[in-house]
């Protein structure tokens, strides 16, 4: 038995080494690098030995002539919020298509990592990405929680990530700390979104008593507080601020508590799971039958209609204003429909498209290309080029990145869901938009 065990363990270790080395490399190499045999041994460059000397503070990515340029998308690709991450990923894919699938004459390789919209998931995804030395840049994450969990690993690995959909204000605050040096975003900051919703509620809907509910995520907690602060500043009253756990399903007790405070409006800027449950259950709670309900970009997806059912009709959702995009959004939608059919899934597809293009523009600016096609990408230079983006003509607007990574052009609108049938979801539709923009 013991001998069998020893033999089996040797077999397992041997097969692990073989798998890691795979791709024809000699078995004497350290089996960790994912790059093909471009190491210090046999020189591939056969010309004069004036090879590029990498003097970048964070090191360089070396891409052989036959290797692809490797970027990765990390976001929420499973669970109730999968449509949010999938939506942004499509923006990245369309951007790659528009470049013909190639940059600097190399193919583009896009891989994905699932962050699960939690800090732990983000940390796991970031750890995997940080250990991959072939990566040039990242687009992601989807949820602010994922960034909170994973950004340290990414920054410390010398990588830079541009998020298409994180909106938590502090992520691009000038005082955010060195962990965020590799982080930029094309999405708006919720400092704008919370303010816009407060103005909508106070001026357009005319309510004076509001309650908020969040699901414990970094995004929701910050956004409802911005709303509350702005609403009070306008002269309104916040009668209740409650929270549930992200995986909670039974909302009736907390909704009963909220109803006891007598609000006229409930703002729940949560994610899809909690959003669906709250919307489905809110009209069953005594006292909340007529309360106005508003959500935000975290539930701006057809999945909310699936989860919330008939109660979603008449619900308001805040989101970036699609009609205020200064770039060719209609053209983007055409490409989206041609490639995927059906409607867009959520709000940040165009932001992901812009993020990808910003990344490639910075890459083309700083990459050193040898005559034989080898590319060297200095990481610090790439990071600085991304942050130095000025007047970049993107679909969502003319984008300029601040030193703390804020590249967004924030214009927020409020939409109303006019039809609770998930098949009718199409905010970009010209004749029958659902949801429909109602403010400003």
């Amino acid at each position: 038995m013991k001998r069998l065990f020893t033999m089996l363990s040797l077999f397992v270790v041997a097969s692990m080494m073989l798998v890691a080395c795979g791709g024809g490399a000699t078995a004497t190499q350290a089996p960790v690098m994912t790059e093909a045999p471009v190491v210090t041994e046999a020189p591939i460059v056969t010309e004069a030995p004036a090879a590029y000397e990498c003097t970048d503070a964070l090191g360089c990515v070396t891409i052989a002539p036959d290797e692809p340029v490797h970027i990765a998308y990390w976001g929420v690709l499973s669970g109730a919020d999968a449509s949010l991450g999938e939506d942004s990923k499509r923006g990245v894919e369309i951007a790659i298509d528009d470049m013909g699938g190639k940059v600097l004459d190399h193919d583009i390789l896009l891989t994905t990592e699932d962050g699960g919209c939690t800090p732990e998931g983000g940390a796991t995804a970031a750890a995997k990405l940080a250990s991959d030395t072939s990566l040039v840049g990242l687009i992601g994450s989807s949820c602010s929680d994922e960034t909170v969990g994973g950004i340290a690993a990414i920054t410390n690995a010398g990588l830079t990530t541009i998020s298409p959909s994180n909106t938590r204000p502090v992520l691009t605050d000038p005082a955010r700390g060195p962990d965020y040096d590799g982080y930029a975003r094309t999405a708006h900051s919720d400092a704008f979104q919370g303010k816009a919703v407060a103005e909508f509620a106070y001026n357009f809907l005319g309510v004076r008593k509001a309650a908020t509910l969040h699901d414990g995520s970094a995004y929701a907690e910050a956004l409802q507080q911005v709303f509350a602060d702005n609403f009070v500043a306008l002269g309104g009253e916040i009668v209740a601020q409650e929270a549930v756990a992200k995986d909670a399903t039974d909302m009736k007790p907390v909704l009963t508590t909220i109803s006891a405070a007598g609000p006229e409006l409930l703002y729940y800027p949560v994610f899809v799971a909690v959003g669906g449950f709250v919307t489905a259950q809110i009209r069953d709670v005594a006292g909340l039958e007529d309360v106005k309900i508003i959500g935000s970009d975290g539930i701006f997806t057809a999945d909310l209609l699936k989860g919330g059912g008939a109660n979603t009709e008449g619900m308001y959702l805040s989101s970036p204003d699609f009609s205020a995009f200064t770039g060719d959004y209609a053209g983007f939608i055409e490409k989206h429909t041609a490639k995927y059919g059906g409607s867009t899934l959520s709000t940040f597809h165009a932001h992901a498209y812009d993020a990808t293009n910003i990344l490639f523009a910075a890459l083309e600016k700083v990459a050193v290309v040898e005559a034989d096609g080898t590319i060297y990408v200095p990481r610090q230079a790439l990071r600085e080029a991304i942050f130095a983006t000025k007047d970049f003509k993107g679909v969502t607007g003319t984008l300029s990145c601040s030193p703390s990574g804020d590249c967004g052009a924030p214009v927020i609108a409020v939409y109303e869901i006019v039809n609770s049938d998930p098949a009718s979801w199409n905010p970009a539709s010209a004749d029958a938009p659902n949801p429909k923009k109602v403010w400003p």
Partner: protein, 355 residues
Amino acid sequence: MRTSLGERLLDLAVSGVLWGFRILLVAGILIGTIATVRAGKYTSEQWIDFVVFGISQGSIYALIALGYTMVYGILRMINFAHGDIFMTGAFAGYFLATWLNGTGFIDNNPVLGLVIPILFAMIVAGGIAMLVERIAYRPLRGAPRLVPLISAIGASFFLEYAFRGFFGPGVYAYPPIKALEGEWNILSVGILKVQVVVAIAAFIMMAILYFIVMFTKVGKAMRAVSESKDTAALMGIDVNRIIVSTFALGAAMAGAAGVLYSLIYRQVGFLMGFTPGIKAFTAAVLGGIGNIPGAMVGGLVLGIFESVGPSLFLEGLGIPRPYQLKDAIAFTMLVMILLFRPSGILGERITTKKA
């Protein structure tokens, strides 16, 4: 053996700490409750609402807990895949209900529209559980206790990601039964129809299970095997068949719970079994693992505490956003019970004393 003074002092200190803990907890609960009731924020109708929510949630936990407790009683093993069996039942019920809904069957026959998906879910869940038992647990019958446990965890992951592979990572909306929308006025209190139906259906299932276990031959055989496998085999009971029947029965309860859960929360997804599974396991331990009425009591107690607890205790203590701590209440309760009454509320009935 004489204990030294140091050892006796240590014993005293430890029991002093435990007692202090108990007193603090009870004091906290009392203070919180009194403060909440005195603040008078909720009407009695709202308290009744809380309790009703708790009962319907708790009866679902109870149904799932039955599976845990029965398998533990027979095999002394916690079937961690049980929460995912619940998920498979919910999926089965979802697909059948969606198909029936398409043909308008559910709108015309609400009772059948409820019963048929439940029966289908029970059959599917039972079948999958029997497969899991055959593949993941039976080969490990004689192994040390930890081994089937790890196998169960593996089976749990396998089920979750197999379903993710087949049905995708998103969630599906369970078609609501129109006849169940709205409220009934019971004793001048408005209670949601769905919750009443779910609670009643759960109680009926539990009664049927109790009847089977107590008054039929198969049930007697199950009780015999859970007392002593070897003796039962000597008495001529086919132990393997009984174990399979136990798994199937527990899984059928979980499958039914899956459909009832989807009726209330209307969402079906591949990870939906994780949290109810853990809560139901907590409920089973709370009521006394291995004890069938214990599982029922544990489930109801857990459900009610989760529902009433945040507003009753925590709000009075001045804790903001008490519902975020809902799970904390449930698990604190579990820890307390395990510390102070490890056999659970109704007592762990592993062996009965022989003369």
